[in-house]
Symmetry: C2
Subunit: 181 residues, 2 copies
DNA sequence: GGATATTACCTATCGATGATAGGAAGTCAA
DNA sequence: TTGACTTCCTATCATCGATAGGTAATATCC
């Protein structure tokens, strides 16, 4: 199963996540298309395995990052790592974070690592002074907006994502400014 | 052709943009599937017409908005109108602003109204004091981030988009703060 | 050790999809 | 009246995900 998922990632790199056909995938691993159904009940089940696999990759990546003591610097490191992960493999990002596969909903089980990742992000944002749900929502939407714009308009470049640190400071400072008034 | 596009939007509302099948579309307009090819060279050509149509709808909507004199208030009105337009018809937003249809690239001709819209936004942002390309990029990515988060996580709600005015102020104030240092 | 499941693969085929071939009417201008 | 063009059709194609049903090899149980 792991080798099938790996082959599926390989094919995704060529034709996008949605462009993986079961026949091509079977050819890639040296079997016939119906034999894939021994391992996955459906194509969506394959996507679900890829989703879980991608999220595990993400967690592994983020756990390898040495976070600075300073909470604000920690947020920046964490988000930079996330952005790097997103940008380096577009099909993987598309499967994990865009709702692009028609009808695909990750199972609760596969979604769990994604939840762990999100909770870690929220935790760091709290430590850096973003306490309210609203502020956290905005910050995360900002990062997602940068990555989306980067991937769709300038893949391989850094026209949007290079502003993360500046914008992060702006968002993290905002509660203080709000208080001051 | 217009009635076919209208029927396609109707079907999009039920099964999403990607879920429109040519046979169902033909049935909707009272002809057989191959007859559609008299009007569109391919399914992507149909999407292209829908793309152009959606952008024309967007332009019409934004031109109907009375913009306040104050440049900052104008930016907010403009963006609020854009957000309202995006949120009220998800399939339309998906076709116009997400790269969700595999292999679909709007033609230069259909893209033109989209360009007009974007230029109008940039113009307003300039008038409100956002002069650099970088600042404009960030602002637009922020708005897109809000809409995306809203649509994918809380369709029909306002958990993200309600923060537009506050965030707009924050982004529009940032150049001043930067200067002050 | 032999009967019995289970696993891992196969060929053949299904229904739905977008797309094409080729033809039959109707309209319209020269 | 003829020839071009438009609009529609039926029939069919290749590809897609999915299912049916069969065949060996392997593992498990009495």
């Amino acid at each position: 199963m792991a080798s099938i998922v790996a082959a599926a990632w390989r094919l995704s790199g060529e034709h996008g996540v949605g462009g993986v056909s079961l026949r091509a995938l079977a050819r890639e691993v040296g079997i016939r298309q119906p034999s894939l159904y021994e391992y996955f009940d459906s194509k969506h089940a394959l996507y679900d395995s890829m989703f879980a696999d991608g999220n595990r990759q993400l967690l592994a990546r983020l756990e390898a990052v040495k976070l600075p003591r300073d909470p604000r610097a920690a947020v920046k490191s964490f988000m930079q790592a996330f952005i790097g992960f997103s940008v380096e493999d577009v099909p993987r990002y598309v499967l994990l974070f865009q709702r692009q596969i028609p009808g695909f909903e990750p199972s609760a089980e596969s979604y769990q690592p994604a939840q762990v990742f999100l909770n870690r992000a929220i935790e760091l944002l709290h430590a850096a002074g973003l306490e309210s749900q609203a502020d956290v929502d905005c910050f995360i939407a900002m990062v997602a907006g940068l990555v989306d714009a980067q991937i769709s308009n300038d893949p391989g470049g850094h026209r949007w994502i290079r502003h993360l640190n500046r914008l992060a400071d702006m968002y993290l400072d905002e509660p203080k400014r709000r208080k001051r008034r």
